[in-house]
């Protein structure tokens, strides 16, 4: 057995291999970018849930997805608070309001998110000082990651919400979604000046250490019947992902792109290997004549495929990391890499290269040695 023949062949054909690596890198980049858009839409939508500082999330039963803003009946909150195992229930109000950065500036729709400023139910990426600013009535905090239509804002300036004058105390970090262009945070008290009645759109529930979430959910259902729904953060993520994938043709738009990217990787890998094999067909034929089995030929070719595939994936991943940074900044969406996503594209890349290698090896395996001399 000649060890590592495949890898050596790849190194020998440096120029050709470089083309293959480059092509696979581009294919991997394409797959990552399309996946990034798809996940970006979903993850941005889930930012509010992600920000919840608690174990469970309470929603009104009519709120079948987070783009509907049905309110929880106010009485439910103290009821849930009284359930055994629950330490705190904190309301989160959400409403679309009109925002104006100055008396002569145009109006823009913004989403107001409001909650009790002490031990807030949301983590909005702020410092303790900024958080404390909410205690002053009439002070609001702007999400600095909002879309640029709101204009240049400075801490300390006046802003108008639904015609009410408020003071911009500072900034938080949340991020827009496809639907929501910008968010502004305020205390419950300040919110009441905009909306005197009405219940919260969401409540964050904190459990006592050791409390069983399933049991708490059952107790909540026993008290409030069908009027509210309780979710763990994970369950809410899943529900919202399903909703988004169903409602918008995300799979078609971005799935096709991902498939195309991987397909291109396969094609490039195949073509390069095919040409490489054909050039050395005499050598392969000699090996077979010497008695090396077809399995060896296949393995050699696969080694070449995996070598360029691995290198191509590495380069593609690096390019993707760069691209994600740029795209996240330009779209405002949550376009991020994580281990699971890298692994899934790696697996797809590996599969594509394996198929390409196997197909390319067919010719070398099928040709009887005598035909080649």
């Amino acid at each position: 057995m000649i060890k590592g023949l495949g890898a050596k062949l790849v190194m020998r054909d440096a120029a050709r291999s470089a083309v293959a690596v480059g092509g696979i890198a581009v294919a991997v980049l394409i797959a990552f970018v399309e996946m990034g858009f798809m996940n970006g839409v979903v993850d941005s939508h889930l930012r509010m849930v992600e920000a919840a500082r608690g174990d469970l999330v309470l929603l009104d039963a009519r709120r079948s997805h987070l783009n509907k803003w049905d309110e929880i009946l106010a009485i439910r909150l103290p009821q849930v608070r009284a359930v055994e195992g629950v330490v705190a229930v904190s309301p989160v109000y959400q409403a679309g309001k009109t925002f104006r950065a100055g008396p002569d500036q145009p109006d823009h729709r913004i989403v107001v998110v409001a909650f009790p400023p002490d031990n807030p139910p949301l983590d909005l990426g702020w410092s303790a000082d900024t958080m404390a600013l909410l205690r002053t009535p009439g002070t609001v905090l702007m999400d600095r990651l909002s879309r640029s239509i709101y204009g240049k804002l400075e801490a300390g300036q006046d802003v108008w919400l639904e015609g009410h004058l408020m003071r911009l105390g500072g900034f938080v970090s949340l991020g827009p979604t496809i639907v929501i262009d910008g968010t502004i945070a305020m205390s419950e008290t300040t919110f009441r000046s905009l909306e005197p009645d009405g219940g919260p759109e969401m409540a964050v529930v904190r459990l006592a250490p050791g409390a069983d979430p399933a049991q708490v959910k059952a107790r909540v259902t026993a008290i409030s019947g069908d009027s509210v729904q309780v979710f763990s953060k994970r369950e809410l993520f899943d529900r919202e992902s399903d909703y988004l994938m169903r409602v918008a043709p995300l799979g078609l738009l971005f799935g096709a792109g991902m498939a195309a990217g991987l397909f291109v990787g396969l094609v490039i890998c195949y073509q390069v290997l095919y040409v490489a094999i054909r050039r050395r067909l005499a050598a392969y034929a000699t090996l077979k004549a010497m008695g090396f089995p077809n399995g060896f030929v296949l393995r050699t070719v696969l080694e070449q495929a995996w070598a360029v595939g691995l290198a191509g994936y590495g380069v593609g991943l690096a390019l993707a990391a760069l691209a994600y940074h740029v795209l996240a900044a330009k779209t405002g969406l949550a376009i991020e890499l994580n281990a699971a996503r890298c692994a899934s594209i790696a697996a797809a890349c590996l599969a594509a290269c394996t198929v390409a290698g196997a197909l390319a090896a067919l010719k070398a395996m099928r040709t009887p040695p005598a035909d080649l001399f």
Binding site: K68, W69, I149, V179, P249, L252, A256, G261, F263, G332
Partner: protein, 381 residues
């Protein structure tokens, strides 16, 4: 000469490794399909954003100078419409009112977000045939027309059913087709005289003014005249301009434009790569044939021509296949999402234009073929 050129190109393609060829063509098909999907979706979003304005027949429109987009349309005094009619060239004006409200089902009390639109049931200003037919129903008070393309919970209501708009009762008197999922779960149209009853807003203020010009009047000069005559709290523009503004908000302010354009770039890249690979391996495997041609006296230009025909033939096959696949797919998506996804001449034309750079880059391997040195390829020397 031309016939032999095409014949040679054809032979090059179909003789040789069929599997390899099919695989690479499939890549081109996928790439062109991606271009189709992204182009069509981008247009569908622009169309959907401005669809409300498409319901009405007006040459010019008037909005508040604080107007951002449909859901939160600032208002202006209805008196501006009367002022506009007094300007030469303006024939008639009508008011449209828009606000966010809620629809409460009469059956189970379920609430849905509602975009409430108030119109004058005058057919002259209505362009959509469905709405035109249903509008006279609104002459009876407390009647509403519902959007058939609303979310299923609202869209399944039947004519004659009652529900609540806001807190006031309304009877469903008819239907129209719109579908604005990005603004509200449902939309409803009532008469302007009922609008204040349902919305609680000041009846003297409206959100959208429709203006029709006298026959022969020049839109540009009337717009200028109106801008001079009217104060700064309103803006006048053509209906097309307003629709473009609304579309611009969705495509440029929201990242849909960036995402779709990225998809187009990806499609182009993928297609270029697939076609380049085919041409490259074709040239490599037919190098001797090209050398023989040169030895026989055919010019380099002939070589390019053969290669170009190969590309064109492959492109035509890939384009046809992608178009055929897109036909049922678009039909299904269009039905489910109520998006406007026609496979028409504009789409085909734009696709062809995009395919040009794709094919051009795939033609690069031909340079090597044209340079094939006859002597160098014969024998071992």
């Amino acid at each position: 000469m031309l016939r032999s050129c095409i014949a040679f190109a054809w032979v090059n393609l179909v003789r040789g490794d069929r599997v390899r060829f099919a695989v690479a063509i499939a890549g081109a098909v996928v790439a062109i399909f991606i271009l189709l999907v992204h182009l069509a979706f981008l247009r569908a979003v622009e169309h959907k954003a401005a669809q409300v304005y498409g319901l009405f027949d007006a040459d010019l429109v008037m909005v508040s100078d604080r107007y951002q987009f449909l859901y939160r349309m600032a208002d202006f005094p209805s008196a501006r419409l009367r002022q506009a009619v007094s300007v030469a060239g303006v024939d008639a004006a009508a008011a449209v009112r828009v606000t966010a409200s809620k629809w409460v089902s009469g059956r189970n009390g379920a609430q849905s977000s509602l975009l409430l639109i108030g119109i004058d049931p005058d057919p002259v200003f209505i362009r959509d045939p469905g709405l035109r037919a249903a509008a006279p129903e609104l002459r009876v008070p407390r009647r509403a027309l519902l959007d058939r393309h609303s979310d299923p919970e609202v869209g399944s209501v039947k004519s004659g059913d009652t529900g609540y708009i806001g807190v006031q009762p309304a009877t469903v008197a008819g239907w129209y087709e719109l579908g604005l999922p990005m603004y509200a779960a449902a939309t409803a149209i009532v008469s302007n005289s009922d609008f204040s009853f349902y919305s609680g807003e000041d009846p003297r203020r409206i959100q959208l003014g429709l203006l029709q010009l006298a026959p022969g009047a020049d839109a540009g000069s009337v717009v200028d005249a109106l801008r001079r005559a009217l104060p700064d709290d309103v803006r006048v523009m053509t209906r097309a301009a307003l629709m473009a503004r609304e579309a611009h908000y969705f495509v440029e302010v929201k990242p849909l434009g960036i995402m779709m354009r990225a998809g187009l770039v990806i499609g182009l890249l993928v297609g270029a790569v697939a076609l380049f690979q085919i041409m490259s391996s074709q040239v490599e495997s037919r190098m001797r044939d090209f050398a023989v041609l040169r030895a026989m006296g055919f010019s380099a230009a002939y070589t390019y021509a053969v290669g170009a025909w190969q590309l064109l033939l492959m492109g035509a096959v890939a384009l046809t296949a992608a178009w055929l696949i897109a036909t049922p797919v678009f039909e299904i998506v269009s039905r489910k999402s109520h998006l406007f996804l026609p496979l028409d001449a504009w789409l085909f034309g734009t696709l062809l234009v995009l395919c040009v750079p794709m094919m051009a880059s795939a033609a690069l391997p031909l340079v090597r073929a044209a340079r094939a040195e006859p002597a160098g390829l014969f024998g071992a020397a």
